[in-house]
Symmetry: D4
Subunit: 222 residues, 8 copies
């Protein structure tokens, strides 16, 4: 074949958007991932990796492990130091249940990689509404709230009615029957009765964090 | 053809179930409906009609109109007197928005036809949560609450988390985009994070009322 | 991150609804489940666990096993003593085929955990109608009948036409082709030609039992 | 363009299959239909027309009307004499409700056009099961039973469990919510728990009749 | 619980329909299957088992193996002797491609269990039309043709246009993309442009054979 | 019935969220809309109305017309004066084609009602990419860009890769076949390969504008 | 608003692609269409219009009518002279039934507008296979064959197996039940068992013609 | 059974279409594949195999391995020598991301097997548009461009607007949430705003290559 190079990295992305290209590991082999990480490490670059399963992470060269900050719950890793966090009090991440934790952490870790420390509020689904109501005052001060919920995804609607900041819903694939795959949650979030709730793809915690970074003005972050 | 009779009325239904067969008018011509109503009127029977559009109602014989209690909003009518209501304080009907009113009234009128007077709480969708919270104490005393909601149908989930009685969700076909046809509401209600919420077909206010009658013990109602 | 506690238990649920929060184990690790069970055991609390697969159950600390009543068919377990059953003759559970048994047992065990002993009628799908007809008189005396069926889910419709009590359909994910995942059964149950049949999510035996508890008046059960 | 003839009639069909090509009128203009009918009339041929709406029928040339046997309920018409019926006692058509009548008549009229007189049993849906049970003995003697039903389409399953003959289910587009368009009925019929039930497209009464003709051995009918 | 018997066998089925209840093994454990087979063997009964995977078959008691006629390709087995075949020349089974073979054999083996020997024509999909045309004359003499095809399922349409006998289409779940799961094939078969083609559920070779048996008059077979 | 008031206005919304409750007119009668408008007019309040079709607008009392600023293309109207616009250069609205104009104007008019003047860039779909590239420099300075596109909705992805600001995609129901109803556009926007693109419901220009207002900090706008 | 021009014509398209931008009229008002046509007429330009319904065509200024070549069956029109046709024998258009004619003519007229005269073969669906087989030799000489078919869309598969040229399938929205909207045809065409069949959107005759023009080398056509 | 031969090879295909029947290995056992390969090898024939997973390839007889050119990334193999490539500069294959590589290579290898050497352009998705723009001039000279993309599949639309040659989109099943299975990509490609883009089934690189061969005139290739 006339060309053998599978990769054309978008090295101009940070300049254009304020954040660089993350490595989506699900469809890549451990060998491909190791090559990318090693190349970045060799030139002293930072790197964010998402959907890096534990077995693939374990299969990377042992000499790379000390340089990778890996979180098995969110299946994310980063190479290189994170900047000092400066965004405290600006972004919140709220989950409906404990099964939403992996996606919430993917969002949290993406924000941390870019120096933004999120406020986390876990397991406050609307079946026990008092749990959310106890936190409302804290949440009302935030510029952006990422609401992570599966099944009926009633949480983004309730939050959207209570909080003035930007609300980004992340539907999750939690659940079975009509909830399997996250489609009931996705459609509920899109059809939210609260005005101005926006939505990202099912389980896309990384995308929600990027949206928050755009709102914070990623190019101007330290 | 060897048989010309299109109808085989289920005249044993009241004895079996405690309520008789309602006339679903959508797929019937005005002529067919008039024949059924006249036949019941002639033998002094009561009759409940659902999905009776205003134009079809108007097309019925003028002599029948005084005997029909017709409600154009819910497109329901009944022939004959309703029994004295005795179920006050037992069944509530709650709507998320004003576009849910026709379906809520279909449920309310079905209950009234069988002598049950429902408590109505309208337009208390979760985008403005304080509206529902103001009514919670009233609703907590009811045996059955019918929650009528379209779009994200977050209302049944919030109600199911607050009230101990039976909760029957009626998804409505309100809305556009992913909410069109009521499928987002249906799936959200089925995937409710609150335990023990049951669901009927989209826009099926009549069915929700029948379910409430079963719970109240239709055979034992006066 | 500013908060590390993933769990916000809804400890007020029993007071509000009459039943406590069950532990849905599918999305939790054995370690997380063990921590929850141990914490409840230490404070002498009861606990219901659903979707607890045999391998996860086996992975729990051996000292906990004597305290857990585990049923591998329904993948449910409970910690602590169940109350004396008092609801005999009030709730029935009917299955269409033997593959509906696990879901039916999830419902039965949830009822037993709250002191309600259900009447079970198994494998009476409508392809052999005489099997159901032999039991009709028994079923007609019950307040609530939970009908568990997959594929064409004709059973809830036939039951809804024969019995006056509340009917809760549980569609199951039995079958292949158009029946795979339980969607044909779900839609058939929602579109039931029998009035007042209510429906819960596919395979949600736990939810059907909770709905029955609401109807029985969970707060007033012993 | 190099060719202007839109029609290529399949004039060899009767020889191959035992029945000729019916004219599906829904997507044809009144002018096109009139041309086809006139051409057949002029050469003394018979013709079956389906989905011929009343307004299109009325728009055909007045001189053709006496030669067309038109049924507005089923929207079918035929040109020419029908053969003496000989198939009495061989094919039955059973409907679940009165809204299934138009489709059932499309099947019945197709059979009559080919000299088969069907036994009709109307409005015997399973919500009132006694209605069907009263007719079972008659139906058990038939070679083919066409079961026409919408919504939950429980009727074909119950019939398939009771009768030994060939069962052809015709799902209908009756109903609203999940039943709209006939998909819940189609899927229930395909997932029937009764063995050997076959299915045709939604609302396809014509197709069910052709299938019955194939079973009767169309080439050998008088 | 008040009843522990999971099975209610439909022992009257043969009398009603002409064929007995097959054992669908997919949702049953090896232990359950063994109990059923042993019970039938002990009382000298015949038994047909479908969807019996090789590993489950291997797990059955070794003493049972000599009595079971097992076919791993179709995952079917039968217990007891089959009757002498008498239906030669009456039923054909035609496949579009080699991946349709397992389903075609499920149909063939079901017929053989009831004494009907089908004519098999394999791998004659319409992409190479000459393969089918070479067999047309043979197929035209049959009473029933079962057409097994996945993907675009063009085969039943072409066959339905060429043959006068009853045509039963079995869509298969062969293929990927839009063909995955068999839904493209199912919809194409239902929408067939050839009149009188009937359809069974995806991959339901057993059901197609039962439909053929109904057409042949199962009660009258030897 | 025990309560007749259909409306429970969320009069606390502006205080909570920074914008008031818009009147969604599609499911309301002209009479209901007139009552709401007149009530607001009488007490000197402002009001935004969406999905107000021309015929309904025309049916409102003639004395109200001078007080309503009505735009038939977007089917929006407002009562009362709009604030001086102050947001120039902050929000852009970009359309892929001319059929996206009504939805884009719904967004634009909502922003104007709250004093934000958007920058409009029309008909720059990616089939003629140079049209968008000519405007990139202008768009790069904006805080928020609303991208309105139907069919393949490639525009939000291209924009998301070029611009650093917040990107809100509004899928539109333009088109036919797989594009009908807007689902292809919705899914493409959710699956965008550009990081941080958020999405609102199909045709929801109002919701996109509210999301932009949340980002701008609606409570702090003049 | 800062910009009022809704249109950004892609005037460079002919140079890039070899064909200019057609006017898709469905979502445009008669006034908008008239403005576009008049503007082109004034500058002596040619123009192709698709989906121009008869009533909209009639509403255009009477002085424009003599300059527009309008075909009501395909709802297409063109302004200006067509080039001498030179492509005879290169492109064929084949339909399965007469209801596919409008879409086939949209394709044919688009080709004619660019000087390519297609060979038309109508109403040769596979239910009567001999009709197609009579034309095979003619079709085998063509470079491109556009196959227009709805319902089961078996035609493109059969054609793809018989002809060596490029095959472009156009699924049509003909039919009802599972065929409604054209999705069964679309999926069958995509899942074609014949190798190398390509597909365009449902009812997109224009797109199929453009694809043929690309294959013929649109830039090099006279 | 009356016939045991599962295979009816279409040995006339090359004569008819210009390419022979490829062996689709996914639904075949290693034993079946080995038999087919050995038979071809013995008679000196060439053979193309697709979807041949590495484990199946490894399970083939060791003596066959030297004769098979196997590519594990695309899961393709061929037996026999490929012709000298002659099509350089005629066909391009463009991918949006690295996860599209396997499908792109399936297309490339199919072309090579028939002597056509494609130009490859990898990882140029529209999120970083400059990557594609740098290659446009090269791509504009090609007769056919195969665009391989998943998720939002914006790439075929952008390419279709920039290049005059034939464009064949291959949607891929890359991604999660709404992108899972490739349906969002498929629908976006079918709804492309660029005229004349054609589409093949999800992940069907082989089919796209065959379509390109048809366009090049497969019968006339060396």
């Amino acid at each position: 074949m006339s060309e053998h190079n599978d990769f054309t990295p978008d090295h101009q992305r940070t300049e254009r958007l304020g954040f660089d290209e993350a490595i989506y590991c699900l469809a890549k082999s451990a060998g491909q991932i190791e090559a990318i990480v090693r190349h970045a490490h060799d030139r002293g670059a930072r790197l964010l990796l998402t959907r890096l399963e534990a077995t693939k992470h374990a299969a990377l060269g042992a000499d790379l492990h000390p340089h990778l900050d890996y979180d098995p719950i969110s299946a994310t890793a980063w190479l290189g130091a994170t900047p000092p966090t400066s965004g405290a009090g600006r972004v919140g991440i709220v989950t409906a249940g404990t099964s939403d934790t992996p996606i919430a952490r993917e969002a949290a870790r993406t924000l941390q990689y870019y120096g933004v420390e999120p406020t986390l509020v876990n397991d406050v689904g609307v079946a026990g509404l008092w749990r959310l109501m106890e936190r409302v005052e804290t949440l009302r001060e935030l510029s952006v709230v990422i609401a992570v919920a599966g099944m009926d995804a009633a949480l983004p609607s309730v939050i959207g009615g209570l909080l003035p900041g930007a609300v980004i819903a992340v539907p999750t694939s939690t659940g079975y029957g009509v909830a399997a795959g996250g489609h009931s949650a996705l459609h509920a979030a899109l059809a939210s009765c609260s005005p101005g709730v926006t939505v990202v793809n099912i389980d896309n915690g990384y995308g929600a964090a990027c949206a928050a970074l755009r709102i914070l003005g990623a190019r101007d972050l330290p």
